[in-house]
Amino acid sequence: MKNMGEMLLRRPPFQEIVMGNTALVRAMIESGTRVVTSYPGSPTPEIATAIQSIPKEQRPFYFEFSTNEKVAAEVAFGAALNGHLSTVFFKSVGLNVAADTFVQLSLLNIVGGMVVILGDDPGANSSQNEQDNRHFAYLSYTPVFEPANPTEAYLYYKEAASLSRELGKVVILRLTTHVCHAKEKVTFAGWYPPEKDDRPRFSTANGPYIPLVSAVYPMKERALRQLSEIETWVEQRNMHTMVDNKSRRGIITSGLVYLSLLEVLEGIKDKPDVLKLAMVYPIPRRVILEFLQSHDEVKILEELDDELERSIKAMAYDQHISTRILGKNDINDWIGEYTPDKVHDIIANTWPDSIDTRDPVPHPLKEIPLRPPQMCPGCGHRSAFHAIGEVLAEDDITVADIGCHTLGYHEPYNLGELLICMGASTAIGSGLALFNNTRRVVAFLGDSTFFHAGLPGIINALFNNHNLTLIVMENGTTAMTGHQDNPATGRNFNDSSEAIPIRKVLEGLGIQTIFETDTYNQVELRTLVKKAVARDGFNVVIAKHPCMLLFAKKQRKAKGSISHHVHIDQEKCHNINACIQKFGCPSFVRNNDGTISVNNELCIGDGSCIQTCPTKAITR
């Protein structure tokens, strides 16, 4: 739609084709949500894109990108204590960052209501693992709704908001990547904004809010008691779906897996019955018991881990139910997204008589080259890696962090040899530097990550006198997730804000050696990195260049096209291939006759490659 913002604020009911993330924003508006917070991470940042489409002054709620997921959760929690319905959203592993705060929430009376939207990532499409965040629900006694498509994302958010407000309890809405990004026509209700009442309502009478000794047990007891209340609440709203095919066999499932299953069942003659759970924690005991009792065999079809399976088997044991319960078969059932293909294989494995096995899909043709993601044409990180690689020794150890610069681990740079999570590089590097006088340690860190979780590792390196070099790869934005502003940008989601320059922060910490240069100045960057790694102690090099994807986008917008490109003077070219093999900009083309040329579809004319040619054959 041309005007997403107008659509999201429409008063009368309507239908529109939207993705799951957009549908959520309409649900927030209809539910009267007042405060929304986040830290960007796939598959959820398009929620903020939809929010941004509404002009700030018309936005019915406050939104911010906070410095990290924990902070975002805290801001949303604080707002909800004042009576504002709030929501925080982030990606799967974002919950690890937020965990310290998150695990307490379910114990507290959150009077305004608070919904946590999780973008889990089975298949690890854009995450470092495919962790199953339902575990956090068990850990913290937090209820979890699981929508299967954009329509349900919209409807379940509204239910989650009502439940949360009614019980004063945090509720999780767990989406997976292809629920967030699925698109379909959704039927939206009308929006009749009520009068706003923003009086701050915080009161200790709603507490206790201090979880110390004597309060802990009653708080936990309340959380546990609420679970059966929640079970009844969902049941009374008929949110679970039963597909009755008059079979003695049944399948219990939830979320997007349900749609994969329906797809597979289209091809089956004797279809099993299906119970689709709208809420997966607390499990709906009565509904499941009834389903077990009315079937001879029940398959638990759940993506990732075996949480439903364990709970259901335990329940069947307690109730002396003899129904055969079929759970996960082998390790493969724990791994990867449950696409229709995967579900087909699982059902064929479970009940070989019910469905033919799929024709094996041949191995990919070996003639098709892989296409790994890479840094964009003109990317300042490429210039940085090219220069840094030239001054480090073969056995020096380089530690990566999360961000576009993670891609430095690919050929031809091979820099950033290990990676865990946001902000971890400095401290991992500190550990690698212990008992190590021979191999120098270099850690990389992006600017948004610096503020997100990078600072504690940096302060620790100073505090404990660790010996390593940190290279801050500053590109002025949060590029990987779609160019969100960060504290050093001088803008937040809503307004301009006082920029917090990374250099000043580091100076303030008392770091003695702080070098800084633009990464396009490769000669200087080489000199500075050489100097930094030669010194003892904790030294920092700020290697900066603005994100050129953002730059190219702005230029295209302003001028309609990229105004110039580099070209290779074939007379001067000696086929040394430094440009294409060592610098590795994707704009270079290897022709069949061995010559190198430039693809003008990709080249943005930044000229960062010019200095890498020993024979000066590249010109602009």
Partner: protein
Amino acid sequence: MKPFNIYICGVGGQGVGLLSEILLRGADHAGLEAKAVDTHGLAQRGGIVVSHLRLGKNIYSPMVSARKADLVVALERHEAIRAVDSALQDKGSLIYFDTVLQPLGVRLGSDQEVSEDLLNTVCGRRGVTVHKVDNVNLADPRMQNIAILARINRKKLIPGVEKQHMLQALEDLMQDAMLERNLELFNRMVNNPKISRNQFNGSGS
């Protein structure tokens, strides 16, 4: 109608997302039920972008199963052959924009670029009908997606979706100069029969 599965792919930055959104909305304007999903992890960094689009009755999952696509729409040659290999059913149709964005291995000299011959041989073996789009005079390479859209329309590659539905979809998504530019190209290519001379029938002829 039996479900019609479309697998749309290309390289980050080529406009796969917009093309998919136009086809999705075009199908909706044609009165078809439609579901779609984009899969674009790190796509913006020159990686592979894929969008699944499923049309018709009794569709549940937005995802196209392996080798169940009726039509592959590819904006680049390597991605065209990759999609034919992984997503397209035998005797299906491929329409692709014949541009090459060399993958890393090709640029480093460790992999061979996929040639048109290889693509045609593979398609021939599988009985795939190939529609190649090239030699289109584009003001901006980012309009390759609209060029291919026009050809999909001319060749009526999506049953039930007509020119007026695609035009409506374009108007849903764009405005002003951008809409004008894209409409101009779309109409030029839909109306000019000469541009279709590059069709190659891969079934061995």
